[in-house]
């Protein structure tokens, strides 16, 4: 096999600080090379260095990148422009922002072809349509004139792939191409990529943080950490016999653990939801008349056991977060009842609701927008205690409680005087958990609390949540799209699709023996790791 791209001892620095330290790897003709690492490990920087689009502040301090036999750093800019797109093409993570919203998708693909191949108008259009066919976009002739907003996320990513393939590149750099997509769509896009790669004998540099995706597509894998490659191996060897302790821990964390959840069937019920409907009106015209309804949640019933966890699983837009907000009484219900300890919350006024506010709390998805940047951590945690009148009115005694809470979520007591921006994503999520715990709730709604976190941090947060449940007997409603963590955290599971629950039951039953075709499809699409650790 021929070597297509070789990165030799590449080092990048910004203001004296090394971001990449002596990175070397080779990509062969026709192979998928995966670069894996957590956020901040330098994988995206490596890809930017390859196409020479690094921000100006970052400089290359040593090393070389060779495409076939040309050193990329020695090329003048006008030649480099020909390399970009023609020899090396790129797919980005966010298909929403990578496409120009005011141009039809056909024109956007045609533009690339015109610049690099210089074909005639008719020939270009033909080529675009054949590309759309290749990326399995339906009705390619008609879609040529569509605008990006008319397409779904998966279709946009297909268009991005079409643009990348337009000039028949030798190397395709895919920077987290499926991270923003739902599982079922991710599976389709990955399959498509693999198919095209085989047919065209293409080389792909696949950048991702998801081990399971790597297992599905890659031929060879390199693991990055703190700007260094810690391990490089062939895919099959990599998963069965990882050498570096960091790789081992990454793989361990990515794997769902089944230990330690004592199965108690049919415990007491804490919260019962019956026939819950949330319809949002669609208003149109000058007088804002209601012309229809979006049925976000359409007749959902489930119950949450005391001291246990119910996982609510579904793809984006399935209405799972709306249910969370409905339980918190933050949005008006259309129909249905929410029974919390024999009290129907829907029948309470906002004043009567106040005692129940302390019993139901919430942890959010995005650790960055969940904390007010202008308040200290202490004040953030204090807010609920003061508002709901929990604990002492004395500030000093409150401080004692706050430091206890911070220790409980494995932070330090003196963190209470700091501001949120001084903390990492995982630490912020811990602060969010401490804020919820401050009012001693009986139910915490966890709205995708781990989806913005790296694998190792995710495992830590899940462990913390389990520990807290064990200590205080709190129940969780765990809203997630990630099936791989469900069996770790949940006792029961409910699968949602388009505002309805299609299947619910105990985790082991549903995960091992799914009845509904949608659940089966979800489980099939979820990328799986080869069973590391069972050797």
């Amino acid at each position: 096999m021929k070597t297509l791209l070789s990165v030799e001892n590449l080092s990048l620095t910004v203001a004296g600080e090394k971001l990449l330290k002596d990175i070397s790897f080779k990509i062969q003709q026709g192979e998928v090379f995966a670069l894996v690492g957590e956020s901040g490990s330098g994988k995206s920087l490596t890809s930017l260095a390859i196409i020479r689009l690094l921000p100006d502040v970052i400089s290359v301090s040593s090393g070389d990148i060779k495409l076939k036999n040309d050193s990329l750093f020695l090329l003048p800019e006008y030649k480099m422009q020909k390399v970009r797109g023609k020899s090396i093409a790129m797919i980005f993570q966010e298909p929403m922002s990578a496409l120009n919203p005011v141009m039809t998708i056909g024109e956007q693909v045609a533009e690339v072809i015109k610049i690099h191949l210089g074909l005639k108008k008719e020939a270009i259009k033909e080529k675009v349509i054949s590309l759309f066919e290749e990326v399995t976009l339906k009705d390619p002739k008609e879609r040529y004139n569509w605008y990006p907003h008319q397409l779904s996320g998966g279709q946009k990513q297909r268009v991005m792939i079409a643009i990348a393939l337009a000039c028949e590149p030798d190397l395709l750099i895919a920077d987290e191409p499926t991270t923003a997509l739902d599982v079922t769509i991710q599976a389709k896009v990955l399959k498509l990529l693999k198919k095209i790669q085989v047919r065209r004998n293409l080389s792909i540099l696949f950048i991702t943080h998801d081990m399971a995706v790597v297992a599905q597509v890659a031929d060879r894998v390199a693991v990055m950490r703190y700007g260094e490659i810690v391990e490089e191996a062939k895919c099959d060897v990599f998963f069965t016999d990882p050498q570096h302790p960091y790789t081992q821990s990454l793989l361990r964390d990515a794997l769902p653990s089944k230990e330690g959840r004592g199965v108690v069937h049919n415990p007491e019920r804490l919260l019962e939801i019956e026939d819950l409907k949330v319809h949002f009106p669609i208003k149109k015209g000058f007088f804002q008349r209601t012309v229809g309804h979006v049925k976000a949640v359409d007749g959902v019933s489930f119950s949450i056991p005391k001291g246990k966890t119910l996982a609510l699983v579904g793809e984006s837009g399935s209405g799972k977060s709306t249910i969370g907000q409905a339980i918190l009484s933050l949005i008006p219900l259309t129909e249905g009842s929410i029974q919390f300890e024999d009290q129907d919350l829907t029948k309470l006024s906002s004043l009567g609701l106040k005692p129940y506010r302390r019993k139901i709390q919430v942890v959010f998805q995005d650790p960055f927008s969940a904390l007010n940047p202008r308040m200290t951590v202490g004040d953030i945690i204090r807010e609920g205690m003061v508002s709901l009148g929990i604990g002492s009115k004395n500030r000093a005694l409150q401080d004692v409680k706050i430091s206890e809470l911070l220790l409980k979520v494995e932070l330090e007591a003196d963190h209470m005087h700091r501001y949120p921006h001084e903390f990492s994503g995982g630490q912020r999520q811990r602060i969010g958990i401490a804020r919820a715990l401050a009012v001693e709730p009986e139910l915490i709604i966890c709205d995708e609390p781990t989806s913005a976190l790296d694998v190792t941090v995710r495992t830590q947060i899940l462990k913390l949540l389990q520990k807290l449940q064990h200590e205080s007997g709190v129940s969780y409603l765990f809203i997630t799209h990630d099936l791989s963590i469900v069996s770790t955290i949940a006792d029961e599971i409910a699968v949602m699709k388009e505002g309805k629950i299609v299947e619910q039951g105990f985790v082991e039953n549903v995960m091992e023996n799914p009845q509904h075709p949608y659940t089966q499809k979800l489980l099939r699409s979820a990328p799986k790791l080869p069973n590391y650790g069972e050797k």
């Binding site: 906002s350 959010f364 969940a370 007010n372 940047p373 508002s387 709901l388």
Partner: protein, 455 residues
């Protein structure tokens, strides 16, 4: 002697107290202190602030109004009579107020600007330049200048030393050395240089103003330097007080529209869309004219022309405030819409925190950067607006000193031949420096406070 408080004086001093209190309150938050520290790390921001403080100083000086008791004439009633209202600035420039000339004279000139017909002792009619009445004939300007500069330097040195001493905790020498090598964290050297320049320049002008009309005289022989300094108060007042009136309206309406949505949002949106689609000058002119009619119908409201023009200024400020809140309101509404969707607001709602507390604790602090930026930007816009409005004739009272009135007057002076340029020039320079300093400072404030600029 009694103090007499004009309406605008009260507002100025009240505002100053509020600002000091706010500043003191904010300085207790380490985050805010850090931000302001970052702002002043730029020497341009530092120099601009010193210049703005200088303008503020003159405003305050001109905002202390006094009346003096006049000795009752022999055998008249016992009732004490009081003189016209004068400010501290008037007291300092009393020689210029009393030393009015007959008509135009150029800066530093010894005689009038145009020739007059005189009949001399021999009965011959001649055309010649008449000498000015209040200009010294001694040619000691260089000597006076030197003395003035020395005094100016000494005064600024005293300030600088006091400040260095106050800054240095023990090691005075070290602090002094570091300051003059420019190695302090904040650019104190720039601050000192700017201050020394301003103080020296002012002392020089002031000392010379006893012997000359430094910036010339206007049509009726009034001293232009004095007029320009008096105009500072008008300009700064319109800049600051208008913002003060507009802020609460903009914040209240903007935040309510963004947070409550629904019909509240609709009403507020219709209101500001309507208001901002009426041409601004038309609205202001209508307001000012109706106010003028009202004042003319009630001449008994005012004891003096000063009070009358002061009230007119206040009305102008009110009208400007009422017409200029829409822009900020729109910005704040959009930002509130965004913030109210943030998860920390949802969390607060889940804690059962009240709407007012959410606004106070979660929304306003996160809007602060927009408010601050637009306040500083609006300030310079309003100073310029005053000039334009006075030029059009719907601005401040014609008897009030303002840059706009000076420019309005200069309209005819520019058409003369030879041209009378100094009125326009002085107004321009004073206004230019103020607006430039405000703009440079606001640029810096914007860069530091806008979270998007954080890398």
């Amino acid at each position: 002697m009694i103090f007499s408080l004009l309406w605008t004086d009260m507002l100025v001093w009240g505002l100053l107290c509020v600002l000091i209190l706010l500043g003191w309150g904010a300085s207790r938050s380490p985050q805010v202190r850090q931000q302001w520290h970052t702002i002043f790390r730029s020497s341009i921001a530092m120099a601009s602030t010193i210049i703005l403080l200088f303008y503020l100083f003159f405003t305050l000086l001109d905002s202390v109004h006094l009346r003096f008791a006049i000795e009752p004439a022999e055998g008249k009633s016992e009732q004490v009579q009081y003189s016209e209202i004068v400010s501290l600035l008037d007291l300092i420039f009393v020689h210029n107020i009393e030393g009015t000339e007959r008509t135009y004279s150029a800066p530093f000139s010894q005689h009038e600007y145009t020739k007059s017909i005189v009949v001399d002792a021999n009965g011959v009619t001649k055309q010649e330049y008449l000498p000015l009445k209040h200009v010294s004939n001694r040619d000691e300007s260089i000597q006076t200048s030197l003395i003035a500069i020395m005094i100016g330097l000494t005064i600024s040195m005293i300030f600088v030393f006091i400040h260095i001493f106050w800054r240095s905790k023990g090691g005075f020498k070290d602090t002094f050395r570091l300051t003059f090598q420019g190695k302090t964290e904040l650019p104190w050297r720039t601050a000192y240089v700017t201050m020394t320049l301003l103080i020296t320049l002012f002392t020089w002008f002031y000392m010379l103003s006893f012997d000359y009309h430094v910036l010339g005289t206007d049509k009726v022989g009034g001293d232009v330097l004095y007029q320009s300094l008096k105009s500072i108060r008008t300009g700064v007042l319109i800049g600051i007080l208008t913002t003060l009136i507009m802020l609460p309206v903009a914040i209240l309406l903007g935040v309510s529209a963004g947070l409550f949505r629904g019909w509240v949002d609709d009403v507020i949106q219709y209101l500001y869309t309507t208001l901002s689609s009426i041409p601004g000058v038309l609205l202001i002119a209508a307001g000012v004219l109706s106010m003028q009619v009202m004042m003319n119908n009630n001449p008994t409201w005012f004891e003096s022309t000063l009070e009358r023009s002061d009230l007119r200024l206040l009305f102008l400020i009110l009208i400007l405030g009422i017409t200029s809140w829409t822009g900020l309101c729109r910005l704040l509404r959009a930002e509130t819409l965004k913030i109210s969707q943030m998860e920390f607001v949802t969390a607060a709602k889940a804690f059962g925190v009240g709407k007012l507390t959410i606004i106070k604790r979660h929304i306003i602090p996160n809007l602060m950067h927009i408010i601050l930026i637009s306040v500083v930007l609006d300030f310079s816009g309003l100073v310029l607006a005053e000039a334009v409005l006075s030029y059009v004739g719907v601005g401040v009272d014609p008897t009030m000193h303002s840059w706009g009135n000076m420019i309005n007057q200069a309209r005819l002076e520019m058409a003369r031949d030879p041209m009378v340029w100094w009125s326009l020039f002085s107004a321009f320079v004073f206004m230019f420096i103020l607006v430039l300093a405000a703009n440079l400072l606001s640029d810096r404030v914007q860069t530091v406070l806008d979270p998007r600029n954080k890398s």
